[in-house]
Symmetry: none
DNA sequence: ACTGAAGTGGGGGAAAGTGGGGAATTGGGG
DNA sequence: CCCCAATTCCCCACTTTCCCCCACTTCAGT
């Protein structure tokens, strides 16, 4: 499982250095092959390729005549891109994905279980603050039926 | 599986360059033979020929006295057109299909599992934004009974 | 301080994208 | 039946982008 946040720099060519601590694991688990796609709250998702394959299979199995299912397929599969770590452990993020998540220089590389999330650093900080803010996650969680979670 | 979006240019002769990364796979899987047809969201669908054959078989098997079934058959089978990649990896899109999807210059070539979708670039962007918009895919997905998907 | 690993930057070459000319084929009209 | 026009196909050439590799810098640990 991946966890923790690392602030990494995007260079002028749009390359992102994967934190060194993950590189070996990624070489083993997916031969350095990863898939980036968008997320609906304007960050990017980064999966080891085998992990992504299973998600894609689930998405592909959705009914072809359901408009919502099609919208989801277009969003996630349509915007997915395969990326590979170079010899320096960097991945090249396509321009349109950088634009999508407003990544310019400082990027939060966040472990999220079996995947990573990539956030523009200010956006990441803002999210964190908002989650701690006045409304309170607790009430939201209860409202969403998650009140019985034990952390 | 095909995935990801590439922006390619349609030249004045109506030819569309297939992204290089797919060419070899398409030469192997279908000997460069593809089938283009229309989609009900005003984009074009592009299938490797064997893939199309199985779709066509499914459509043909629909009940002949069902009006909806017949409409679907006319739409998808009736507008289908075989195309072949030339030595430069381009396909020639018939005029009426270009018109149908309003393809003029910049075209989004979108991988969608076993097929591709071809969109006029502005239309593709608009779709994407709409999917992220105020309603949000999350609510739609929940309403459609897809809430249990884990991405 | 020295050494090795990680981070960062950049240049060159190959390949992909793009455009256009001309031959060949097809279809329609005289 | 023939000819002309329009479309398609094949080939060639140029431009641009991207990817791979190398080198320098920075940092941390011994």
């Amino acid at each position: 499982m991946f966890r923790g946040v690392f602030i990494v720099n995007l260079d002028v060519k749009g390359r992102l250095a994967v934190p060194a601590k993950y590189r070996e694991r990624l070489q083993m688990s997916c031969n350095s092959r990863l898939v980036v796609t968008v997320d609906r709250d304007r960050c990017l998702l980064l999966y080891p390729e085998p992990e992504w394959e299973s998600i894609e299979a689930k998405l592909s199995a959705l009914p072809a005549f359901d408009n919502t299912a099609r919208a989801i397929q277009r969003l996630y599969i349509g915007n997915a891109q395969e990326v590979e770590m170079d010899a320096q452990g960097r991945i090249l993020l396509p321009q349109y994905l950088r634009d999508f998540a407003s990544l310019d220089k400082r990027v939060a590389f966040v472990g999220q279980g079996s995947k990573f999330e990539l956030w523009d650093e200010p956006a990441w900080n803002a999210r964190n603050e908002a989650a701690l803010g006045d409304a309170g996650i607790g009430e939201l969680a209860t409202a969403a039926g998650l009140g019985s979670l034990t952390l």
